[in-house]
C-alpha cells in the first residue's frame, strides 16, 4: 500500500506531499479542487499512463516544463519501495533511486484499477475503448504483453511504410508480416483467455446483483485467421494490394472487438443506461478481482473510485464493497463526507484548490 504521495507541478498541485496511513481513503471537496487529479497521479505511478489524457504534457502545471510524482510503496513482502516518475522532455523512472529504463519493469509495481464515470463509454461506444481497456488490463496482468503489443505496433507500422512504396519490397514485407503474424496470434490468444476470465467473473457479479436469471457474457470476435501464424501471414500477404490502397492493414488485433451481452442481447444496442452502467462497474470489479487473485487475496491492488460509489442501489453496493474491501488500499472521491458505514474507519482528506489537509483541518 502507498504510504505517501509526492507531487510537483502535477496539474493544480505545485508542491504537495500527502501521507497515507489508512487502507480506505476518502478525498472530499467541491468540484474543481483536485480530487480526481490525485487518483490520476496514483494511477500514473501504477501504469505510466493517465486515465484522462493520452498526452502526459497536459499534466504538468500550467507554466512549468516538467512534473514529478513519487510514492513510498509498502509491499506485501514488508519492505518499502520508492517509485519515482519525472516527466520533462523525456521520462525518467526510478525505483529506490536506481534508474529504470524499461516501462515494463516499472508498470505494475502495484496494480491500480480506476472506477470512472467515463467507464460507461467502454460499454456503449466504439471498439477502440474496449481494446484500450483490454490492453491496459493485460499490461498489469501479463508482464510480457506490453512487449508483444509494442512489437506488434512496430511491425504494423513497418508493413504500412513498406506498402507506401511504388514497388514494395515483397521479401521485406514477408519478413515483417511473419513477425506481425506471430504477435497477432500471441496477442489474440492472451485477449481471448483474459476476456473469458473477465466474462465469467462478470457473469457471477450479475447473478449476485440481479438474481439468477441474469445471463451475462462477453463475446470476443478476433479476426478469423489469428489462431495460426502461417494462415495469418498468408492472409496478410494476400491483402497487400488492398491494404496499399487503403494505406493501412485491414486485418489483425488492432481492429478486433468484443461485445457485452445480457441474455444474449448486446448491451450496446439494447441495454438500458442502468444496465450499461452496471456492466461497466462489473467490468472494473472483475478486473480488480483478477488482479487481486494473481498473488491472492487482493495483494498489491489499489482501487481508485471517482464519483462512482455514491449512487449505487444496495445489491450493487454490497457486491462493490465486497470486492473493493479485498484490495490492499482504496481511494474514493466525494463532494461531501460519505455517511455510509463502510467509511467509518476511513481517512478523510479535504481537497481545496490544490492542497490537502486532514478532516480536522490541520495541514498534513
Amino acid at each position: 500500500m502507498l504510504k505517501n504521495l509526492q507531487l510537483l507541478n502535477y496539474r493544480n498541485y505545485v508542491d504537495e506531499k500527502i501521507d497515507f496511513d489508512s487502507k480506505t481513503n476518502v478525498l472530499t471537496g467541491t468540484n474543481g479542487q483536485g480530487k480526481t487529479n490525485i487518483l490520476e497521479a496514483v494511477y500514473f505511478l501504477s501504469m505510466l499512463r493517465s486515465f484522462r489524457t493520452a498526452s502526459p504534457r497536459e499534466i504538468r502545471g500550467i507554466g512549468s516544463d516538467f512534473f514529478h510524482v513519487s510514492a513510498f510503496l509498502n509491499t506485501s513482502r514488508g519492505y518499502d519501495k520508492l517509485l519515482e516518475v519525472d516527466y520533462a522532455e523525456t521520462r525518467r523512472l526510478r525505483i529506490d533511486s536506481s534508474p529504470v529504463f524499461k516501462a515494463s519493469e516499472f508498470i505494475g509495481s502495484f496494480k491500480a484499477v480506476a472506477f470512472l464515470p467515463s467507464d460507461l463509454m467502454i460499454v456503449t461506444e466504439g471498439a477502440a475503448l474496449r481494446r484500450r481497456f483490454v490492453n491496459m488490463f493485460l499490461c498489469s496482468y501479463d508482464k510480457i504483453y506490453l512487449a508483444d503489443l509494442n512489437d506488434y505496433a512496430n511491425a504494423l507500422k513497418s508493413r504500412n511504410a513498406l506498402l507506401k512504396n511504388q514497388n514494395p519490397d515483397t521479401d521485406a514485407l514477408t519478413a515483417f508480416e511473419r513477425i506481425l503474424a506471430e504477435k497477432a496470434v500471441a496477442i489474440t490468444a492472451k485477449r481471448a483467455a483474459v476476456l473469458k476470465k473477465i466474462s465469467e467473473e462478470m457473469a457471477r457479479l450479475f447473478r449476485e446483483i440481479k438474481g439468477g436469471n441474469a445471463l451475462f457474457n462477453i463475446a470476443y470476435t478476433p479476426h478469423p485467421s489469428t489462431e495460426n501464424i502461417e494462415a495469418h501471414a498468408a492472409k496478410l500477404a494476400a491483402d497487400r494490394a488492398k491494404d496499399a490502397a487503403r494505406r493501412s492493414t485491414s486485418l489483425g488485433p488492432h481492429l478486433d472487438d468484443c461485445q457485452f451481452l445480457l441474455n444474449d442481447k448486446p448491451l450496446r444496442a439494447f441495454g438500458s443506461t442502468g444496465q450499461c452502467r452496471l456492466a461497466a462497474l462489473c467490468l472494473k470489479l472483475a478486473a480488480l478481482k483478477l488482479l487481486g487473485d494473481i498473488d491472492g487475496g487482493g495483494a498489491g491492488t489499489v482501487a481508485l473510485v471517482d464519483d462512482v460509489a455514491g449512487e449505487l442501489d444496495s445489491e450493487t453496493q454490497d457486491a462493490f464493497f465486497g470486492i473493493v474491501s479485498q484490495t490492499e488500499q482504496s481511494f474514493f472521491t466525494f463532494t461531501a463526507t460519505p455517511s455510509d458505514a463502510y467509511f467509518a474507519d476511513a481517512k478523510i482528506l479535504e481537497v481545496k484548490n490544490g492542497s490537502i489537509s486532514n478532516a480536522a483541518g490541520a495541514a498534513i
Partner: protein
C-alpha cells in the same frame, strides 16, 4: 533549462560532443572543459587523428568491417589465414564484432550489414551490404551463416529476410538462440553471454 554564456566556439564544441552515444549536455560540457585544459599539441594531435580517419580507415572490401586504407583493403579477420572461412557471422554494425571477439569462442569471419531493415527509418535492403554477402557465398567455401542480429522487430525481420534469401544457397543458416535479452543491444552484451548465445545457435527455417 538555463543556457550558459560560453564563447561561440565552446558552444559549437559542446554541441558536437553531444552527438556521441550516451553523452548529454552535462557530459559534453565536462568533455569540452577537459579538452580546453589539454596542451595545444595534444589538441592538434587528436584533431588530426579525427580528421585523418576518412583517409586512414576504410571498409574491408570483403566483409565491410573497418580496415587500414590500402589497395584491396582487408580487415584483420579477413587477412588472418587461421580464421575459419567456412563460417560467416553476420552483424548489423562494426562495433558488434569486438563484443563477439571478446568471447574468444568464434573463429570464423564476419559480414557487416551496416544496419538492418528499418522501413520506419527509411532503411531498405538496397542500403545494406546484402549483395556482397550473396557474392561471398556464391564464391563457394561457405558452409554456415550465423545471423547475430538484434532481437527487436527490425533485427528479427532482417534475420528472417536473410534466411529466406539464403535458403536456395544450401548453406546452413542459424541465429543466436538465447542469452541475448530481448531488445538488448548486441554491442554491449557481455562476451560470456554472446559465447553462450553462439553455442546455442539454432537453425532458422
Amino acid at each position: 533549462m538555463s543556457n550558459e554564456k560560453y564563447p561561440d566556439a565552446m558552444n559549437a564544441l559542446i554541441e558536437a560532443l553531444k552527438s556521441f552515444p550516451g553523452v548529454g549536455k552535462r557530459s559534453a560540457e565536462r568533455m569540452a572543459f577537459a579538452i580546453l585544459k589539454w596542451p595545444g599539441e595534444k589538441r592538434e594531435a587528436v584533431g588530426s587523428l579525427i580528421s585523418g580517419l576518412s583517409n586512414s580507415v576504410v571498409s574491408c572490401v570483403v566483409c565491410g568491417n573497418i580496415a587500414d586504407a590500402e589497395a584491396d583493403a582487408r580487415c584483420a579477420y579477413c587477412a588472418d589465414p587461421s580464421r575459419d572461412a567456412s563460417i560467416i557471422c553476420v552483424v548489423e554494425e562494426v562495433a558488434q564484432i569486438s563484443g563477439i571477439e571478446r568471447g574468444g569462442f568464434f573463429r570464423g569471419l564476419y559480414h557487416v550489414l551496416g544496419g538492418r531493415l528499418a522501413p520506419l527509418e527509411g532503411k531498405h535492403a538496397e542500403d545494406l551490404n546484402i549483395e556482397s554477402l550473396r557474392a561471398r557465398i556464391a564464391d563457394g567455401g561457405v558452409l554456415e551463416v550465423i545471423l547475430a542480429l538484434g532481437q527487436d522487430v527490425e533485427g528479427r525481420a532482417t534475420a528472417i529476410y536473410l534466411a529466406d534469401l539464403l535458403k536456395t544457397t544450401g548453406v546452413k543458416v542459424s541465429r543466436l538462440a538465447s542469452g541475448i535479452p530481448v531488445g538488448a543491444d548486441l554491442s554491449y552484451a557481455d562476451s560470456a553471454t554472446i559465447a553462450a548465445a553462439l553455442n546455442g545457435r539454432v537453425p532458422l527455417d
